[in-house]
Symmetry: C2
Subunit: 405 residues, 2 copies
């Protein structure tokens, strides 16, 4: 009998995409669905970077260098300098989205059976790449009560074994929006050095950091800002969110560790090259004026402020104020977030509208956690967010599985 | 101490790209290098498919469906019908190049430690993907004397173990150019059914099949043309060679085995989507007239004819006539193909010119094989091929490691 591989069987289905059929069914019934479930921004892709592709003079669309076009990598050096990261073009490898950078990190640094520690809730696809690479994810729980701050370092120490090879940190965080402080980053640095761990730093959202409630701006700290950690850090980057270009599939694997870079390069060579047309977009993006980020950032901030205010005004709902990215996690007075999110699509509508959310269960590695939490991506405009929050408010009143906290 | 993973250490470097520094050094000395070493065609990318991207009206370059745009997959159904392959759009998954289709096949169907049988010489990057997935490649030797025909089925039977899960076949073949006959394909079918093996069929070059020496056209047989093998076949496809669009990074994973498709889809979801702009190219390519292939095919055929004639006219050289793709393998009167190919770049020039070839050693899984063979990609025009053959002819006269057969 033909059989699937074990990883083919165990590979998790996307927790975000599993509700898609219910959303499609709702739409077929004529219900308007507000998609706060997925990090697909509605912000316009800068026309200048699309124009760069349109104006490119291409006779033969050839393989690029396996590390990406050198001209693009040289320009990225300038970009990184602006955000305080000092790297050369030979420390940058262009990847097919941030996704491939994560996969290369696992392939290069971890054996099957090795362990990677990730504060949960975390980006669900880390599970998928870990499964593909045979790596075991060890979650450390962060809590909504602290706004998903870094768990105590003692919690890390408790789970470190000889098989622990890396920690993944995403700041600003998907799914929590949490922006890790310098103190937290320094604590991570110490533990990485103490136990010889790689720090995989997913910085997809670095441009999107917002003021705290006291009006002070949260300080963005890259793993590459930490002194003495150069050999440990692999930066996993992407243009998807930065320039609202998710479909381009252009990311980067950045490290000063030459041994790691050279080994990752062999995986890059096997797949020949990253996408050619989209590299032109990425390169053109470096020429956008510094002011480019002002408008999307202000827009996201306004959305965050509205979303958090609306959520916290609902009885039994708590949403810590996220410091960055474009996600918020909220705890709701519900029995089960999977059931609730499906119910929103299957059995609820208000004025012909409903809202699609991501159950938080998919973002936790520890079974049973996240049942009262959902992730909301504020990727729709203020009117849509208000309408979506109206739906959620009504839904919580009607939901049969409502709990009374 | 920070360590690399075992696969990071064992991952083979690209055997084709390892000579690149020597080519660069030769160019710095002012020597013109004819690149017959890599399958990067010089044929123009059809302007119509690049124009499709230029004229696309994109406000936000969003993630596509993880299986690729439905509109593209529906059009691919028409394309496949034209080549005698009957599939639905739900049996097609768009991948990031053929490379990703191969990786998905390994991930989905083989456990670490499982074995895949591949007739050697074979496309070197199969080794890389196998290493990434922890799969062991078991080579079965085909011989230049038979023009690299399928080895006897008894050779397959000899190496099949309980860990054998799949056979990879590439037809027309890279690196040999061999076009497998119906009889050979049927023999493979029988062994796949007998031993419950998947048949991974790499058909990147299906459009490029040429007449034999007797003037009859070789019949192109897809694995999907074989009756009764539907559940076993995974077709790994790409637009790279078909439309001279290597840099696009658009391929396809096609199977009628729903269990395999659904499992592969989970790996596709983890990486979100294939490249967006290039999918527009792929979709536009389906609208090219059927006559589109006439010109590149005639060009490749003329090049093949010239290359094979020139090679076989050199003393001690033998090049079987390849039935397809744009590669030829030749045996040369040399001691070591790696040394020779490096010598061509490092120590030889004729009228200020030299030629870059791929040592065949990189295409064999069995150590020690291929030392007298090189692969030549006829991706340059007739004049360049003539000039490159002049160089090779002179080089073989001068090479210190020349053998006398």
């Amino acid at each position: 009998m033909l059989t699937l591989s074990q990883r083919g069987q165990e590979m998790p289905a996307s927790p975000i995409r599993k509700l898609v059929p219910f959303a499609e069914a709702a739409k077929k019934k004529g219900i308007k669905v507000y998609h706060l479930n997925i990090g697909q921004p509605d912000i316009e892709t800068p026309p200048a970077i699309l124009d760069a592709v349109k104006h490119a003079d291409i006779r033969v669309l050839e393989y690029s260098h396996s590390a990406g076009n050198e001209s693009y990598r040289r320009k990225l050096v300038q970009y990184y300098k602006k955000v305080g990261i000092d790297v050369t073009h030979e420390q940058i490898m262009i990847t097919t989205g941030g996704s491939e950078a994560i996969l290369f990190g696992f392939f290069t640094c971890l054996n099957p059976g090795d362990e990677v520690i990730i504060p949960e809730p975390f980006y669900a696809n880390y599970n998928g790449f870990a499964c593909a690479a045979g790596v075991n994810v060890v979650p450390i729980t962060s809590s909504i009560e602290t706004g998903f701050a870094l768990p105590p370092i003692a919690d890390f120490e408790k789970v470190i074994t000889p098989k622990t090879k890396a920690i993944i940190l995403c700041s600003p965080n998907n799914p929590t929006g949490y922006l890790y402080s310098r103190k937290e980053m320094e604590a991570l640095k110490d533990i990485c050095i103490k136990h010889d761990l790689y720090l995989f730093s997913d910085e997809a959202y670095r441009e999107f950091c917002y003021p705290k409630e006291d009006g002070t701006q949260g300080e963005y700290i890259s793993a590459m800002h930490l002194d003495g950690l150069d050999q440990h850090v692999v930066l996993m980057d992407t243009i998807s969110k930065r320039y609202s270009a998710c479909g381009a599939r252009i990311g980067a694997f950045v490290t000063k560790n030459k041994m790691v870079y050279d080994a990752a390069m062999k995986f890059a060579q096997a797949r020949l090259s990253p996408p050619g047309l989209a590299q032109i977009m990425g390169e053109a993006a470096i020429d956008l004026p510094d002011s480019y980020f002002d408008a999307p950032k202000a827009e996201y901030q306004a959305r965050r402020d509205l979303l958090v205010k609306r959520l916290n005004a609902m009885p039994g709902v708590f949403c810590p104020n996220p410091g960055g990215a474009f996600y918020a996690m909220a705890s709701l007075p519900i029995d089960d977030s999977d059931t609730f999110c499906q119910w929103l699509l299957e059995s609820f509508s208000w004025n012909g509208q409903t809202v699609m959310l991501a159950p938080a269960t998919g973002f936790y590695g520890t079974p049973g956690l996240g049942k009262k939490e959902v992730r909301l991506a504020y990727v729709l405009n203020l009117d849509a967010i208000n309408a979506a929050m109206d739906c959620l408010e009504k839904a919580l009143e009607q939901y049969p599985g409502r709990t009374h906290a």
